[in-house]
Subunit: 356 residues, 2 copies
Amino acid sequence: MRAIAVHRGEESPRVIDVPTPEPDPGEVLVETLRVGVDGTDHEVIKGTHGGFPPGDDYQILGHEAIGVVVDPTTTGFDVGDLVMPTVRRPPDGTNEYFERGEPDMAPDGKYVERGIVDAHGYMSEYFTSPTEFLVEIPESLAPHGFLVEPMSNAEKALEHAFATRSAFTWEPESALVLGNGPLGLLTLARLARDVDDLYCLGRRDRPDPSIDIIEKLGATYVDSRETPVPEIPAEHGHVDIAVEATGYAKHAFEVLDALAPNGVGALLGVPGDWSFEIEGGRLHREMVLQNKALVGSVNSHIPHFEDAIETVSSLPDWFVDDIVTEVVPAEDPSAAFERNTDQIKTAVEFVSPSER
Amino acid sequence: MRAIAVHRGEESPRVIDVPTPEPDPGEVLVETLRVGVDGTDHEVIKGTHGGFPPGDDYQILGHEAIGVVVDPTTTGFDVGDLVMPTVRRPPDGTNEYFERGEPDMAPDGKYVERGIVDAHGYMSEYFTSPTEFLVEIPESLAPHGFLVEPMSNAEKALEHAFATRSAFTWEPESALVLGNGPLGLLTLARLARDVDDLYCLGRRDRPDPSIDIIEKLGATYVDSRETPVPEIPAEHGHVDIAVEATGYAKHAFEVLDALAPNGVGALLGVPGDWSFEIEGGRLHREMVLQNKALVGSVNSHIPHFEDAIETVSSLPDWFVDDIVTEVVPAEDPSAAFERNTDQIKTAVEFVSPSER
């Protein structure tokens, strides 16, 4: 079957031919419709995040897949069910994190991530999965259900951010998303449901399709070249929630200056190594005297996927149309991996959702 | 009446004579028994934290007071009731934070702190208080009930730390307290109730009374000169909870290295300005990929005092005897403000609890 993989020593993914997987009893065989591409895929391609499956010199990409059950084996699924797989798997049998349904909280060594860490992904014509790692997706989401996986990461980050503030009365009125890539824009759309006063930080010149989306969501675009993060309060006021979705390491600390008292910063982006000076005494003091919190968040578990299904289902049509800038055929997927300011979210298509 | 105050331009507090306050209807007049001294008092004396009451060139110290109601006016209190006042007061009338019983979450400008920020403290023969800011203290705590206020700060910090971890299954098995001063040791004693594997960081040579307390609590003393915070995991393993109680600014960031995956650092100490270099990219990345959290915490509200009463009541007698190293008479309180390695927690006594 056709698969899209990155090879050791190569800079771009390419189409390869691999054997079609055969489901064991209790697994299902899924025919892939579409697979979204995100920043993590670009890190995997560059080799800065994750790792190849042990023993292989290539890795099949893809962790945002939507597909259709074609062989349910002994499971309760039916042929034709629309499903999305979760990303993490236990490396050996199972462990306590998977047993209690919280693989997203598993530490290093207690998980692999399909398409990211030590396991092949879903960017192939077929994949198999145990049923416990599949989420049923409503038919209406067949075309853009691949947005559910990244949205589930936003759901988890916000759940944890709100948890940090659960010991007191907290009604956030303003939020800042750092980053106008796909994850930033999805997080912004999720926040727009609950928060009126929204900001999104980027560093793009107008005209730019991501700025258009920010403004159509009713949010204010903040150009970080004109208004660096610590200057946001003077320009726009402090924010109750900030979500870091760029992986720019200074943001994790600068964001403390943008937060209102009792505010929380949720960190989703994954930076590389970088040492730099911070006003550590002042930031530490303000965290204490103003009851501020920072929380890191990675991956997601099934209830976050379920929340994300609801959120993605409620997204306005224009948002989905605008954020998914290109769906490219699996036969020639290179355009899905190009990075330019016209592209926001891309996906690779194996089977057209309308033709299945 | 006698009061102990710090004056502008002076390095040490001294005894002064001020008018005895008169309670308004709805307030009570309290005769002070004992007032604890802590690190915040030393910061107030040095002028590095808080501020004098507007218009005054002195500030009566003291925010850890225990006393006896001598005039209940129109309130439901009785003469002889043992009480402790909370610290924060609304600056003008009231505001939403006080109205909902969460003054500890009030931002700058929405509170004063008696004995710390813009208001006189309790280190005087008498003080008045509205009843809503008084907590009844059991008779058994008359001698050392002044430990309730600092313990309430530990209760709040731990409540907020646990809240940050409330969105998933989390059963902390190890904890590190940074700081072997009174607040650090009280926090350690509080943690000893729930956590088996305990560490306390200091930089003292043996023999030292705080190290003796650490070890009698069953905790391991970590000398930061031999084992800096980032090396604690290699020496002792990672910890699930860390509480920063020194105000040493680098700790707030270094502590991320000491935390196990899914761990939380609670920040209680208040540092001054200090800029320094950190491995910001790595720390940010590990917060994300290991789901770590940092939470700042200041002050406390009535339920934290109530929890602290229970905790202080359950402290072993030896702990109270060992941590309260000196109780000095209000007539000559200077020894209560001396800082040396033999002193841990001191208090100023106006009326002996056994003679009231």
